[in-house]
Symmetry: C2
């Protein structure tokens, strides 16, 4: 069949990355999360560290944008965070040209808006489930809720600013699922079934 | 296994009722949509027509509530729309006591909040898909979008007022799905698979 693309938006601690990895493995197609930053870095000539710094952060003030690494990246005119966004945007489209894949976050649904066979998924979970997972990522116990709320606020800011859509709201996705109800493995299995039914 | 319950919130024109019917048929369990009104009417002594009039309509002003049929229903003290809500609430819990079922709308998720094995689903779709379906229900072509927006506004008002949750927002559900992407039959098949994975 033709290539197809699965984009996954996810709340911090919902297990979106692990679900995406398992889904890609079920389907036998490549998976991109942080891997995207390397591709975008190579394609843009910007240092990979700059992508790590600006990864899924909301568009900040012009002052901040120009003052944090813009000179080292040889930016001409454009704030560094916009340049980082555009390099990721191009990287996502280049990757998709090569064939089917699963891409986590980074406005991939927006970058692939004019592609055929795109499935846009959002993964969320109850706070308690997310806290348990964040704890397993190494977040200190007294900072769990704070880390979850702050990370999601950044992701929402980034997504809403660049895509013009609303992060985590149903109008932006084909399917939204609470991963805490089925757990990681079964959520991935259900999504694989969804893909099978779609194509 | 123990009884389980599937509640389905749905946008007007999304095919939620048909999807629920097929899902109930796949699972071999009873299905309740308008059927609920008959059960609630029998249990409350209020006329079924009153349930039809107030079905999933938001709590209106006290003046309206008291002036529209309250006297004929022998209401003592409580506005008729609240009495209708309470009768449906009781009917949903009575039905659930008898065994597994699929229930469409009417704050069933809220009525069953303290039951075990409840799956809460929301079905939505793009406007074009909903307009095509509303046309097939007999809505005049020049009134399609208006009918969709107004009906959903009423459903949201009813749900938000009584449940204290937010209609159509992910925090209120386990799974939200755009029925226009898979179509009616396959959406029902995916939901059946979800139920299988849950229990």
């Amino acid at each position: 069949m033709d290539s197809y693309y699965i984009t996954i938006g996810r709340q911090y601690g919902s297990g979106g990355k692990e679900i995406g990895e398992r889904l890609a493995s079920f389907l036998g197609i490549p998976f991109y999360d942080k891997e995207l930053l390397k591709v975008a870095s190579a394609g843009s000539g910007l240092d990979e560290e700059i992508f790590n710094q600006h990864d899924e952060k909301p568009a900040s003030s012009f002052f901040y944008a120009f003052s944090s690494g813009a000179s080292s990246a040889g930016v001409t005119g454009l704030p560094i965070n916009h340049k980082v966004f555009l390099a990721q945007f191009d990287a996502i489209r280049d990757i998709a040209q090569k064939g089917s894949c699963v891409i986590i976050g980074r406005c991939a649904d927006y970058a692939l808006e004019d592609f055929e066979n795109v499935i846009n998924i959002f993964i969320y979970a109850d706070m308690e489930f997310k806290k348990q997972r964040a704890l397993s990522y190494g977040v200190p116990e007294n900072k769990l809720e704070d880390a979850i709320i702050k990370t999601d606020k950044k992701r929402a800011g980034y997504y809403n600013f660049y895509s013009g859509k609303k992060w985590g709201e149903k109008g932006s996705y084909d399917l939204l699922i609470n991963s805490g109800k089925l757990g990681i493995e079964k959520t991935a299995a259900l999504l694989a079934e969804y893909v099978n039914l779609r194509f």
